[in-house]
């Protein structure tokens, strides 16, 4: 005989489960405060709305990814080094890996430093850098800064040393929060209108990559509405019409609409180069011997120009040698099989500039 199923069998205990959840009032209040603070941040910085939502989760993901790729890397390295000890052929291979390829495969030094400091529990507000300096900014009171800034500097210095990096100076600073200026009603209305038109465009199945606005100059009322679309989207007039409507609805005048057509294939190609650029930049600036102070690139006009700024003087007696070394280091990396697979033989040109900003190669 089939058993009759009773839909209400667990009703009472299930209902009770809800009331059996106990949540501390203090915790509830804290979460509320967190939400309200974030909402207020949004009010003042409407544009960054996606940042707040995604920041935290992303960080978790990155950490997780790092952990797993770290584990995998350790295992791989173990195998690799292990085999190098046994086989002279493998040892040969290891020593032939281009210098920049090694950097390409390791965590960027900035991230290593930031991670180490955070793991040690220091309150780090941010970390940045250029070709010569690594800036570390510390959160918290002046007293806290006085207490820890030397330790922080030392830890960072040791990490640089461990990587054989001698090209960076470290600057530790205290983070000072400047008040964010309040958004005017008009700005508020514009950003709402831009948002509404974005939503409308998406609803109407226009292919919009991003939207935003900017003031022509800090004190000017005139704003430019920027809309990014793929260059395959042809309905420009329609897009303008929709944007116009939502701005009109908010009574906004003196603005212009700029529609940027993005070549997605080109953008993808450029994105592939980005990690490669990171490795070149870090590798060349981290060591004093290269005398590299800056880096730039330009995709237009083709071919790709990789511009290396240095402090080499054309009159230096070892100038040619230094320039040659930089070229060789980059070429060796870009011509490695791994990178060639990524860039599919994209042509490039290396331009090295000297101290007086003139090309020296």
């Amino acid at each position: 005989m089939t058993k009759q199923y009773d839909d209400t069998e667990f009703d009472t205990p299930l209902k009770k489960l809800d009331s059996d959840f106990l949540w501390r009032t203090k915790q509830k209040q804290e979460l509320k405060n967190r939400i309200i603070t974030d909402i207020e941040k949004l009010e003042s910085k409407e544009k960054n709305k996606h940042l707040i939502l995604s920041n935290r989760r992303k960080r978790g993901n990155v950490i997780r990814k790092l952990t797993y790729s770290g584990i995998a890397l350790i295992i791989l390295c173990g195998l690799f080094i292990g085999s190098a000890f046994i086989s002279p052929v493998m040892a040969e291979v290891v020593s032939k890996i281009p210098y920049l390829s090694k950097i390409f495969h390791s965590e960027p030094i900035n991230r290593t430093i930031l991670r180490e400091l955070k793991e040690k529990g220091y309150k780090i507000a941010g970390l940045g850098g250029n070709g010569r300096y690594i800036f570390i900014s510390i959160d918290g009171s002046e007293q806290y800064f006085q207490d820890v800034h030397e330790e922080v500097k030392e830890i960072a210095a040791n990490l640089l040393k461990a990587n054989d990096y001698d090209g960076y100076k470290i600057k530790v600073e205290r983070q000072i929060d400047r008040p964010v200026p309040a958004t005017s009603d008009r700005d508020q209305a514009i950003s709402e209108a831009v948002e509404i038109s974005y939503d409308n465009l998406i609803k109407l199945q226009f292919n919009v990559l991003s939207s935003g606005y900017q003031h022509l100059s800090p004190n000017s009322d005139k704003v430019i509405i920027n809309i990014d679309i793929p260059n395959t989207e042809a309905r420009i007039e329609e897009i303008k019409k929709i944007v116009n409507e939502s701005l009109k609805a908010k009574n906004i005048d003196s603005y212009s609409i700029k529609i940027h057509k993005i070549d997605l294939a080109q953008r993808e190609k450029e994105a592939k180069w980005n990690e490669i650029f990171d490795a070149i930049f870090e590798g060349l600036t981290a060591k004093k011997e290269y005398k590299v102070t800056g880096f730039a690139y330009s995709f237009h006009p083709a071919p790709l120009q990789i511009i290396i700024k240095t402090s080499i003087k054309a009159s230096d007696k070892d100038a040619n040698e230094k320039v040659g070394k930089i070229e060789e280091t980059i070429n060796e990396f870009l011509n490695s099989e791994e990178i060639q697979n990524k860039i599919n033989g994209d042509p490039y040109e290396i331009i090295i500039r000297g101290k007086n900003k003139q090309r020296i190669n």
């Binding site: 058993k3 199923y5 009773d6 839909d7 069998e9 667990f10 009703d11 205990p13 299930l14 209902k15 009770k16 489960l17 809800d18 059996d20 959840f21 106990l22 949540w23 501390r24 915790q27 509830k28 979460l31 509320k32 967190r34 939400i35 309200i36 974030d38 909402i39 207020e40 949004l42 009010e43 709305k49 707040i52 939502l53 935290r56 989760r57 993901n61 997780r64 797993y68 584990i71 508020q188 509404i196 939503d199």
Partner: protein, 176 residues
């Protein structure tokens, strides 16, 4: 206008946050994540306040936001769980920080049994039976048809029963 929006969200928080947190917690089984997702639910509600059409109660709307965020989160987490199990990391099934959020003893067995059910069963039981949503509201929150809600619940309750038997909290005899 924005001030009003913020006040309304704060008001909603006072009324519904515990219920939403409980729902998410039952789904993700991790207090810290549940709290983060609750945070995101209300921030999202604030951001998309204008798109709330009042076709349903705000509670239903908030739950559907919470549900979407939770599903996204679970989807992203899956590979991580797989790896964890591969490396035999200890699996923590109910990491509830006792001092912050706890469940009374009598309901703990039910909480655990629910945690073992598959996601679709679990959420339909939570929404229909624990949170007491109507079939119509449940279908809105989950984005299912009403008949799917009914048929899933129809299968979910016996599955829950089976789980409780398996864990030895009720005897087979008692069911018949």
């Amino acid at each position: 206008m924005l001030e009003h929006r913020k006040e309304e969200i704060a008001d909603w928080y006072d009324h519904h946050s515990k219920s939403i947190l409980g729902f998410i917690l039952l789904m993700v089984k991790d207090y810290q994540q549940a709290e983060d997702l609750t945070h995101d639910t209300f921030v999202k509600a604030y951001l998309y306040y204008d798109s709330f059409k009042h076709h349903s109660s705000e509670k239903t709307w908030l739950f559907s936001i919470a549900h979407n965020l939770t599903v996204d989160f679970l989807r992203k987490r899956k590979p991580a769980i797989f790896l964890k199990e591969m490396f035999h990391f200890q699996r923590d099934n109910f990491p509830l920080p006792e001092e912050i959020f706890r469940i009374k003893e009598e309901s703990y067995e039910l909480y655990q049994a629910l945690g073992e059910l598959k996601d679709t069963y679990r959420k339909v039981i939570i929404l229909r039976k624990i949170k007491g949503f109507s079939i119509e509201d449940t279908s809105k929150i989950l984005g299912w048809s009403e008949s799917k809600v009914k048929s899933s619940l129809f299968r979910a309750i016996p599955a829950l029963k089976k789980q409780l038997v398996k864990e030895g909290h009720i005897s087979d005899e008692a069911i018949r």
